[in-house]
């Protein structure tokens, strides 16, 4: 998921800002990714988007906007996409991958 440090832009709704993100699926066995927003302690923060869970094919790229209340921006830190794994009929480990961008800016 890119960018790692998204630019927060004004949206068409008063009191709401927007970040523009792009997601590339590089895992052949994964078709679905969930968007989540967290504070520094990994507590969920509310947001709006056209998708909560994105269906995306292997090597496909999708763009999406995430809308966040301005009042939540002091708390919002991690914007993440997490892969959703399928049930399997073999005894095995499954790998759930999560990529997180930071909304509080690049490290100094």
């Amino acid at each position: 998921m890119t960018p790692a440090y998204p630019v927060v832009k004004p949206s068409h709704v008063a009191g709401v800002v927007k970040v523009e993100m792009s997601l590339l699926n590089s895992r052949e066995e994964i078709e679905w990714y969930q968007i989540e927003l967290f504070d520094l302690n990994w507590t969920n923060i509310p947001f709006a988007s056209s998708y909560r869970i994105i269906n995306i094919g292997y090597k496909e790229r999708k763009s999406f906007d995430v809308y966040i209340r301005k009042s939540d921006m002091d708390e919002a830190v991690y914007l993440c996409t997490t892969s959703k794994v399928r049930k399997t009929s073999k005894s095995r480990t499954l790998v759930s991958s999560r990529i997180c961008s930071r909304l509080d800016g690049e490290p100094a």
Partner: protein, 162 residues
Amino acid sequence: MKYLVTALSLFALPALANVPITGTVEAKCVIQTTKDGVYGNPIASKLSTTPADGGVLPVIRFDVSLADSYTANITHPTSFSTSPTLNDTVAWTGSTSVTQTSVAGMSAYEAAKVVVENTTIFDLTLAGSTWFSTASSATYGSSKPFVGGVYTALVQASCIAK
């Protein structure tokens, strides 16, 4: 006239134009599963991904485009995501290690890793690819045999911008 044409042709330069190609390298992290993990069942009460126990270690590859932009946080399982009904407790152990690197300097990741409960954190200070493997072992309470069925557990691999 012949000499004039020859002289003019010496000054006839081909049309040249400079076409700039621009690009941006931005921080980016890609996670891929190189190998799926499989639980072996060396004794009735144990499930393990360790090859010595008949299992297969899952291998996860992290590609980062810019140095010092991300941490890799890998969490080994502490519960089954699917299993038959179990009436006793399951004792979990696990660990994550660097198994392969694309840059020699990344071998230092292993010594510098930080383990917090069941999560191992690697500071990805160099650009390139790193392969991690996660060992996971589950032992059923009081050495009881595991109930027959399919057992799956989830390894959480996170790439978090610093």
